[in-house]
């Protein structure tokens, strides 16, 4: 029974990583850039939802909508101002810019909301589903997060494979130049990618803070890094991979804490990552692409 309850804790933590990783992998898969500011967009989303419920007295649903709208606009704005001018620049320049954006967002949040941590009120409601005479409890937040994860994963997969815009995205991802020659508007496609990625970030932020209710300007950075790890673990660029990687990372983290040592859990998680990448350099579900010379 303890095994099961640790498994549930692991899935609960992992689903939060997974939902963040979906946004990461989406942007990487299409735009071929690591958006290190993703974790901070998550933080902004959580603050927006917090402001909606705590300061304006809105219903949780309204505040989530607010968070999604603000983050989507923010994501597109960031892309336009910070990344678009660097479309032709080496990827290192874009990476450094992304880190710069991340610091900008953190410090802007510091100015606006100050550094005092805030305790986030869960948008899901605090209850839990009890199984086996209450020996096992699964919180509603976990259920909603896992559900949201699956829905988003399926929706994203369908979107990228079935719709016109999705096809355009895959084309841009394969070869920007060729896509443009085929009449695809590369800039619009990348903007839409960022809009979707950032909207997902808002949902991830709200769910992250509902599960672990503490909110401060650095809230997004550590889960962001873990989620990035999860995305790489599952195969960056692969949508089901992000979900699988996230859940596995959470479960491994909790199990190594529970059965090996709380002191070594981080070391074990990252050792696993190294082993996976040594055996399968593209991650668990990553597609291997031969680089053309």
């Amino acid at each position: 029974m303890t095994f099961l309850s640790y498994l549930i804790s692991g899935i609960s933590l992992g689903s939060v990583y997974a939902i963040i990783a979906l946004g990461y992998t989406m942007v990487y898969g299409i735009a071929k850039m690591l958006n290190f500011a993703h974790g901070d967009v998550i933080m902004i989303g959580a603050y927006m939802s917090f402001c909606g419920t705590s300061y304006m007295g809105w219903s949780p649903l309204m505040s989530v909508v607010l968070a999604i709208v603000v983050c989507t606009v923010l994501g597109v704005t960031i892309e336009r101002l910070a990344y678009k001018p660097l479309r032709m620049a080496p990827s290192l320049a874009v990476l450094i810019t992304a880190i710069g954006v991340s610091y900008f967002l953190q410090n802007a949040a510091l100015l606006i909301w100050t550094s005092n941590p805030k305790s986030f009120t869960s948008v899901v409601g605090g209850g839990a589903v009890k199984l086996f005479d209450g020996q096992l409890s699964i919180s509603h937040v976990t259920l909603v997060t896992v559900l949201a994860c699956v829905v988003i994963m399926v929706a994203l997969t369908l979107f990228t494979t079935k719709t016109k815009m999705g096809t355009a995205m895959r084309a841009v991802s394969e070869d920007k130049g060729a896509a443009q020659l085929m009449g695809i508007n590369v800039n619009t496609t990348i903007s839409v990618t960022f809009a979707i990625g950032s909207g997902l970030a808002a949902i991830a932020g709200v769910l992250l803070c509902s599960a672990y209710p503490t909110l401060m300007p650095t809230t997004g950075s550590m889960p962001g890094i873990k989620a990035f790890t999860a995305a790489v673990f599952g195969g960056i660029g692969s949508i089901p991979g992000a979900m699988l990687g996230g859940i596995l990372l959470g479960v491994i983290e909790i199990f190594s804490k529970a059965y090996i040592s709380t002191q070594l859990s981080d070391a074990i998680v990252f050792a696993m990552l190294i082993v996976v990448l040594l055996v399968k350099p593209d991650g668990l579900l990553g597609k291997h692409r031969n680089e053309k010379v």
């Binding site: 100050t114 305790s119 672990y212």
Partner: protein
């Protein structure tokens, strides 16, 4: 069209940034007002320039601001009373970061700091203590409690207990008051404050025969999920949970323990102070949490009552231990400066040598203890008070 759009967006971003500055500006205005008040005082008598660094922004800001406010009240009182010793106070932000603390310290040196209040939190204070030691500036930290802060430095003193004392005192207190028989500890093993307290707690518990049934850790990278740590404690049958950490992870532990239906007694240390003012936190979760702190805002003696009243009037909240420690620091300086016979026109180095001689000789009554004394290592000797959170307020046990 795109140019216009990007200009517009840039404008919006700039506006947001400026709004932020506007909000931040208030605190700066307050600082300027205080400065000008002190400026008037300096016209009549020479003043000692007293400087300190602390996290005025960042995750630990609640401590830095409390210390700054507490010290400010003491300085205002002393200057208003118009004695021979007058102060000018300046606090610089270190964001609880050692590197930034050294920069902040250098800014204070440029300003002409003569005596230092060190840094508010441990890691930054270890960095600034090395600087004050090599620059020969006397420092008395209100609240940086790690041993490394004062270790091997003759001119660095502490107003709070050192971490080992907190661990030892907590174990002693739990044992004496028979608060629990099976103790579980969760500590943060990448933080010198938390692990320092744990080490001495463990040693003292072993000596007293207090049984520690579960010890688990977390780090910055894994400070979200505590279900495993709590599960271990519950499985081991712990009836008391000792949490030597700051209040932010503690708030998550309390929330998760409740959702697990696990309700041990919770015992914290001074870092737990602040949990009640965490915005949006359900304070009923902290009901019955015990902590060891030298300061009790509910105490009825005149000194404490006046301090609490002034603090509430000026800053709109109940002062915590950090504010009281900083307040005491300033008054302890007055006592030491008078004992040493320093004057404000002396150089920082001369003041330092005199204070190093004078500090171990004084006995000081403050908000955080009666008859406090210091030994030559810089460690304070005072007795802690046990507190319990009852109906959302601290009550002495």
């Amino acid at each position: 069209m795109k140019k216009i759009l990007s200009m517009l967006l840039a404008g919006t971003m700039l506006a947001t940034a400026l709004t932020g500055c506007g909000a931040g500006g208030n605190s700066q205005d307050a600082g300027t007002n205080a400065d000008s008040a002190e400026g008037d005082a300096s016209a009549s008598a020479a003043v000692f320039k007293l400087g300190g660094t602390g996290p005025l922004t960042g995750g630990a800001a609640i401590y830095g601001n409390a210390a700054k406010n507490g010290a400010q009240i003491a300085v205002d009182e002393i200057n208003a009373a118009g004695g021979a010793v007058q102060f000018e106070l300046k606090y610089e932000d270190d964001e609880h970061d050692a590197e930034k603390a050294v920069n902040a310290y250098n800014a204070l040196l440029d300003w002409g700091m003569q005596i230092s209040l060190g840094s508010v939190t441990s890691k930054p204070c270890e960095a600034t203590a090395a600087e004050t030691y090599s620059d020969r500036i006397f420092a008395l930290t209100p609240s940086a409690s790690s041993v490394a802060v004062i270790d091997g430095k003759d001119n660095m003193y502490q107003m709070c207990f050192a971490d080992p004392n907190q661990g030892t005192a907590s174990a002693q207190y739990i044992f004496d008051q028979k608060l629990g028989t099976k103790v579980a500890v969760i500590y943060k093993n990448d933080d010198v404050y938390s692990s320092g307290i744990y080490d001495t707690f463990k040693a003292k518990a072993a000596e007293l025969g207090l049984e520690i049934v579960s010890t688990t850790t977390f780090t910055d990278a894994s400070a979200n999920d505590f279900t495993v740590q709590l599960g271990e404690a519950q499985k081991a049958g712990a009836d008391l949970l000792f949490l030597p950490m700051y209040y932010q992870p503690a708030s998550l532990i309390l929330t998760q323990a409740k959702s697990m239906g696990y309700a041990p007694k919770i015992f914290g240390v001074d870092g737990m102070d602040g949990i009640l003012t965490l915005e949006g936190f359900d304070t009923t979760l902290a009901e019955g949490v015990m902590l060891l702190t030298p300061f009790n805002a509910d105490a009825t003696d005149d000194k404490t009552a006046n301090f609490v009243k002034t603090y509430k009037e000026k800053f709109g909240e109940t002062p915590n231990q950090f504010a009281a420690d900083a307040y005491d620091c300033v008054y302890a300086y007055v006592a030491a400066i008078e004992a040493a016979g320093c004057t404000a026109d002396m150089s920082a180095q001369d003041i330092c040598e005199k204070l190093v001689e004078a500090f171990p000789t004084i006995s000081f009554d403050g908000l955080t203890g009666e008859g406090m004394t210091w030994d030559a290592t810089g460690a304070v000797s005072k007795s802690p008070k046990g507190m319990i959170i009852n109906n959302g307020a601290y009550v002495g046990m």
